[in-house]
């Protein structure tokens, strides 16, 4: 792909990173550990989340290796169970849920609305410490021998039949849950109360809208998971509870409570990603997002409807068939807003002036893969086909298309997009484009065969499988290797760019968001004087005028 770049870099010979910015403000470990600056907290989050992403990724590698052969050749069945459980728990609760909101959102939401900081900086810091606490508990769990409940903690298996470290895992998720509750709470308050004059709701960047929607889900959904885990832990310790039929409880009650959070959770994971895509697509096609209002409201619609569909995870679990009907119908409704988003992004390209920098490549990847992921979701939301496809590799492929193909692509897209603002330096363009393509290819190789495996009926969470499934599993594992490369590359060149990357300047992409109107990396107060929002979002004419005005000022200055 042509690296035809719109990057308007300052003259590298003279360009300097501003002496005073949020990174150089104070030095020393304490100034980081006790900071209340949302940008520093976001940086801390970025580091810790990357760490856990690579742990989870390593576990995924182990899973794929084990599945290379039909027999349990690499590890024993119980080890395998622990591996996929840890993979699930770490990826879901320590990577996917906080990934975009806690890093990019934390850093840029206040800047996008022109605020100096989040409304509750101390709470923000606290939520990072909670996250770290949860992470430490997870690491302890792994060190102490792991847990093999599967990330869904199905009772009575998790409450009665396993003697692994369910309690410490439950505790870790409980704490991580409160970390994300506080992040969401903080975002909602900030978006409501901290907008600069003129920043009306319909001038907000769509990234803010989608994070707002995700925050609602975090605040309302996560507590239910918390109390459910408390009940599981009580049942494990007291040997009496409401989930195990042996005591008169009902295991389906657990399923209801668990999925009441865990289904909205997938929207918590994907919505911020959609926000990133809106920003990126608009910026690199130099064009206002097609149907801004529709995209904004579709985020809110997803958040609201997302709460009414949880039981579509239980169609075959003996819930009332009539309840199944209702939940299936509502699932169909929640599928529509996602379709709207896809088409609106596509038509944002129409009559644009498109360039293909790395963030845009990842965004294209997202749009393709998320379309597949979303449509296969309809297969599982339809009661009839769900019977055959659920609990097989089809479902594994489906949510990896949404979570990895969607969310992770969006995360990488966002990281590349805002990297210049974050660090003040550019990442190397060519190699990163290469990495994006590698990721895309590797991803499809890894997960597309799993759709076929699912259709064949290969059950998920199998350490050993009948031989006729081997060929496809070999493909999948091969693809996983490529995917691994695709993920390692960014770490390397992004770290490299911290020191050797070209100086980015304030607005390398010529993007319109308020965050681009200040220096990069920004000051601790974000803006020198509080900005006024006097134009619509994604107003590129306004940006042109700004640039011309600046140019004239410079000339006047040089002349005088």
């Amino acid at each position: 792909m042509s690296a035809a770049t719109i990057v308007s870099l300052p003259d590298q010979s003279t360009a300097r990173i501003p002496k005073m910015n949020f990174l150089t403000r104070e030095n020393g470990l304490l100034s980081w550990l006790l900071t209340s600056d949302h940008k520093r907290i976001a940086t801390l989050y970025l580091i810790s989340i990357t760490f856990f992403f690579f742990i989870g990724g390593a576990l995924a590698g182990l899973i794929r290796l084990e599945l290379l052969t039909p027999q349990t050749s690499l590890m024993a069945a119980d080890t395998y169970n622990k591996v996929f459980t840890m993979h699930g728990v770490i990826m879901v609760f320590l990577f996917l849920v906080p990934s975009v909101p806690a890093t990019i959102g934390n850093f840029f939401i206040p800047m996008m609305i022109g605020a100096k900081d989040l409304a509750l900086p101390k709470i923000n810091l606290l939520s990072w410490y909670l996250y770290v606490g949860a992470g430490i508990m997870m690491i302890y769990t792994m060190a102490a021998g792991g847990v093999d409940t599967g990330w869904t903690f199905t009772t009575p298996l998790s409450t009665h039949y396993l003697n692994t470290h369910v309690i410490s895992t439950g505790l870790a998720i409980f704490v991580a849950g409160f970390s994300s509750i506080f992040t969401g709470l903080n975002f909602i308050v900030t978006i409501h109360k901290m907008r600069v004059p003129g920043m009306t709701w319909f001038r907000l960047p769509l990234f803010v809208w989608s994070n707002y929607a995700a925050s609602i889900l975090m605040v309302l959904g996560t507590p239910v998971l918390a109390i459910t885990l408390v009940l599981v832990v009580l049942e494990r310790t007291m040997h009496i509870g409401v989930f195990d039929p042996a005591y008169g409880g009902d295991p389906l009650l657990f399923q209801h409570l668990f999925w009441f959070y865990s289904h909205p959770a997938v929207y918590i994971m994907i919505l911020p990603g959609m926000g990133v895509i809106s920003e990126v697509v608009s910026t690199f096609s130099r064009k206002r997002v097609f149907g801004y209002t529709a995209v904004a409201f579709s985020s809110v619609a997803i958040a609201v409807f997302g709460f009414f569909v949880w039981a579509h995870h239980m169609f075959i679990m003996g819930i009332s068939n009539y309840a199944a009907l209702i939940f299936s119908l509502l699932t169909m409704l929640v599928a529509v807003p996602s379709a709207i988003k896809i088409f609106n992004w596509t038509f944002t390209l129409y009559k644009g002036s498109i360039t293909f920098e790395t963030p845009m490549l990842y965004a294209f990847g997202f749009m393709g893969l998320f379309t597949i992921g979303g449509l296969t979701g309809v297969f599982l939301g339809t009661t009839g086909t769900d019977i055959h496809l659920t609990e097989t590799y089809f479902i594994v492929a489906h949510f990896h298309f949404v979570m990895v193909g969607g969310m992770l692509m969006a995360f990488l897209s966002g990281i590349h997009f805002w990297w210049p603002k974050w660090t003040g330096r550019m990442y190397p363009e060519k190699i990163s484009q290469f990495a994006a393509v590698v990721t895309f290819i590797g991803f499809n190789f890894t997960f597309f065969p799993q759709f076929i495996l699912g259709m064949l009926g290969m059950p998920r969470r199998y350490a050993a499988y009948p031989p006729e499934f081997q060929a496809l599993n070999v493909f999948s594992t091969a693809g996983a290797t490529i995917l691994g490369v695709g993920y390692l590359l960014p770490i390397l060149y992004l770290t490299w760019s911290l020191k050797y990357g070209a100086v980015a300047g304030d607005n390398p992409w010529q993007a319109t968001g308020l965050e681009w109107q200040t220096q990069s990396p920004p000051l601790t107060e974000n803006f020198l004087e509080t900005p006024i929002m006097d134009h619509e979002a994604y107003d590129y004419e306004w940006l042109e005028k700004q640039n011309i005005a600046r140019q004239q000022q410079k000339e006047v200055a040089s002349a005088g």
């Binding site: 907008r195 009441f260 709460f307 039981a311 819930i319 068939n321 009539y322 309840a323």
Partner: protein
């Protein structure tokens, strides 16, 4: 939405608080007394009967809750946003309970 700050921070008078306090105590007394009376039941359909005692108990509890929320918690004098938040709380709570029970109550329909 957020533009409308409560410029003059409304101060509720102690008298209001006292009245609410008394009302709450009365409510408590009522609900205890009600629980000792058999308020009968309503046969909606065979196998589906509505007992009045829990209904009354919950009604009184809800009234008390409304009093606390409106006056002790100043929602009556708070911006729309706060009212909306409270409403959202009730709504989601009802969704959680209601939709879960919807499954339980329809399981007996037909034989699967």
């Amino acid at each position: 939405m957020s533009e409308q700050h409560e410029q003059e921070h409304h101060i509720v008078s102690p008298l209001t608080y006292a009245i609410v306090f008394l009302a709450l105590l009365v409510g408590t007394a009522l609900t205890v007394l009600a629980s000792y009376a058999d308020l009968g039941e309503w046969q909606i359909a065979p196998g589906l009967t509505l007992f009045w005692n829990p209904v009354v108990a919950l009604a009184i509890a809800t009234t008390k809750m409304m009093l606390v929320v409106l006056f002790f918690m100043h929602v009556k004098y708070s911006p729309k946003l706060t009212k909306l938040t409270v409403a959202a709380g009730f709504f989601m709570f009802l969704v959680l309970v209601g939709m879960t029970l919807a499954d339980y109550f329809t399981r007996a329909w037909g034989r699967w």
